[in-house]
């Protein structure tokens, strides 16, 4: 018989699972705009998880982190990317290498690897929520699939940003008491990434008049 997790841990697991599901939703979203909105929703879920853990484990620092997460990842980053998209006037993602069904099947296999890998660690701890850790790692792996299989700059940026989201989920559930300054350093990394990806999107669109990376297969002399 399996050990039944407490109601709080179960709830946290379901929220972590939502992060994984939004990752799958991003994988199949045909509109670039909807992909950015799904990322905003995913960040909102992460904010909710931070508030939940702050309340349950009495870590007031996490409220600050939740507020920062909300301001940056739900409002600022999606806002900036949506604005860039409006300037680029590109709606649809370029046709991906594989069909949606195959991409989802590959992502299922990859996330299975994440689950089984964490399951085989045999972590025996009363406080460490192994399930949520496994879900976060599966989400990170699916983010890699997103970056590898989708051939447009926006998907790759979103994949990278959501990778950061799954890392924050992992750090939230495993080390809720992580010093605030470390978490803020992660967020600062994200800001740098946004600037870099913003520049890449601009330059790429300026040169090739498209956001698809399919155009980058010719040598330029």
């Amino acid at each position: 018989m399996h050990l039944v997790p407490s109601a709080y841990a179960g709830f946290a697991d379901v929220v972590a699972m939502l992060v994984l599901l939004t990752e799958f939703a991003m994988l199949r979203a045909p509109l670039l705009r909807s992909q950015v909105r799904i990322y905003a929703f995913q960040s909102l879920v992460v904010t909710g998880l931070a508030v939940d853990i702050a309340a349950a484990r009495h870590v007031p620092d996490l409220y600050t982190l939740a507020a920062l997460t909300f301001a940056l990842k739900v409002v600022l980053v999606p806002g900036v990317v949506l604005r860039l998209l409006r300037d680029a006037e590109a709606d649809l993602a370029g046709s991906p290498v594989l069909g949606v069904a195959s991409m989802v099947l590959i992502a299922i296999a990859v996330s299975a690897f994440g689950f089984f890998a964490v399951g085989s660690f045999h972590v025996q701890s009363a406080t460490l929520p192994t399930t949520a850790l496994a879900i976060a790692i599966a989400a990170a792996l699916v983010a890699f699939v997103l970056i590898i299989l989708r051939t447009d700059v926006v998907s790759q940026a979103m994949g990278f940003f959501s990778l950061e989201n799954s890392v924050s989920v992992a750090s939230l559930v495993v080390a809720a008491g992580l010093p605030l300054v470390v978490e803020v350093a992660f967020l600062f990394d994200l800001l740098v990434a946004v600037v870099v990806f913003g520049v890449i999107m601009r330059v790429h669109h300026g040169r090739t008049k498209t956001l698809s990376t399919d155009e980058l297969d010719r040598l330029k002399g």
Binding site: M1, H2, L3, V4, P5, S6, A7, A9, G10, F11, D13, V14, A16, M17, L20, L21, F24, R28, V100, A101, V104, I108, S111, A112, F115, F116, V118, G119, V123, Q124, T130, T131, L133, A134, I135, A138
Partner: protein, 321 residues
């Protein structure tokens, strides 16, 4: 004779009778609510009963090409739908005498046999639309099957059995069981399966008359008279059976009789019909909020259900799921 206890066999008969008699009522309420949501007055709540009575009085018309299979299909399907309510917790929390003659897989097989015989009868008619409907119903049925299997796996991992009664008891036992991701996602996946299997909107227009969009409805186009009545009644029963499994096994197994006292049994009947009507209202709302998917997009909907069921099973491989 002790007046205060209904014999287990009696409750078993009542389980079947509740599904048999209650299913047109639930369909009627859903159709009425749907009409109201669309700004119509909607048909009377008892309309399905009148329809059935009318159809039973009509004569049967058979196409030249069809054989006895065409006439037997609806009867076989109807008797299958009469058997399934014996296996699932319709009214009681405890297993009734015949309740353990089949597990959750057994119930699934009998439902599949019913679907198969209706599809066979549709194909046997020799009419193009009925054959198209049957072929589509079997194709999408095959795509739903893996999701159902993984939901069963999740049930097996949660309860170490494959009995619907054990699953319901597990859900009732504590709050932590309800919010476990394995349970939550298996329940949502099963909800999507019910949506697809009862021919609701993302998959099929329930009350449509356009043959090209039909899946389940298309199979019965050539039947008439008592056979059509049995098919319509059967599909209403299938709907209530699936609702009952979703409600009394996965989502809200409360209000069931814990003993054979008449009061408890009456409350159980009333609460089942009430919960089924509530669930039906949710389905009617979904009908109005979403549009029908194009036929080739249905696989994506089913893939989403499959994803949820697979993830529900995966989480068990990490400690505590």
């Amino acid at each position: 004779m002790g007046p205060s206890v209904v014999a287990p066999q009696g409750i078993q008969a009542l389980q079947v009778a509740t599904i048999l008699v209650g299913s047109p009522l639930v369909s009627g309420v859903i159709a009425h609510v749907e009409g109201r949501l669309q700004g119509r007055r909607g048909p009377r709540i008892l309309q399905p009963y009148y329809d059935l009575a009318k159809l039973f009085r009509k004569e049967t018309v058979v196409t030249d090409e069809s054989s006895w299979v065409f006439l037997a299909g609806p009867v076989v399907a109807f008797s299958c739908y009469l058997i399934v309510p014996m296996l699932i917790p319709v009214l009681t929390t405890y297993g009734l005498p015949l309740g353990y003659m089949g597990d959750i897989l057994g119930g699934g097989f009998i439902l599949a046999l019913a679907g198969f015989s209706v599809a066979l009868a549709g194909t046997e008619s020799g009419a193009p639309y009925a054959q198209l409907g049957s072929s589509r119903a079997m194709t999408f049925g095959a795509l739903i099957e893996p999701t159902i299997l993984f939901v069963f796996f999740a049930v097996a991992l949660l309860t170490s059995t494959d009995l619907p009664y054990a699953m319901a008891a597990t859900v009732r036992s504590s709050t932590s069981e309800i919010v476990r991701p394995g349970h939550v996602f298996a329940a949502i996946a099963f909800f999507l399966v019910v949506l697809a299997d009862t021919g609701r909107i993302p998959v099929e227009t329930h009350s449509g008359t356009l043959e090209f969009g039909m899946i389940d409805e298309g199979r019965t186009l050539e039947h008439s008279g008592p056979q059509l009545a049995l098919l319509k009644w059967g599909s209403a029963m299938k709907q209530l059976i699936l609702y009952t499994i979703l409600i009394n096994v996965f989502v809200a197994p409360w209000g069931l009789a814990t003993s054979g006292s008449p009061a408890a049994v009456v409350i159980a009947i009333a609460s089942l019909i009430g919960k089924a009507v509530l669930l039906g209202c949710i389905f009617a709302l979904i009908d109005n909020l979403f549009s029908k998917l194009r036929l080739f997009k249905i696989t994506e909907f089913l893939a989403a259900a499959f994803l949820l069921a697979v993830l529900a099973v995966f989480v068990f491989y990490v400690k505590g799921g």
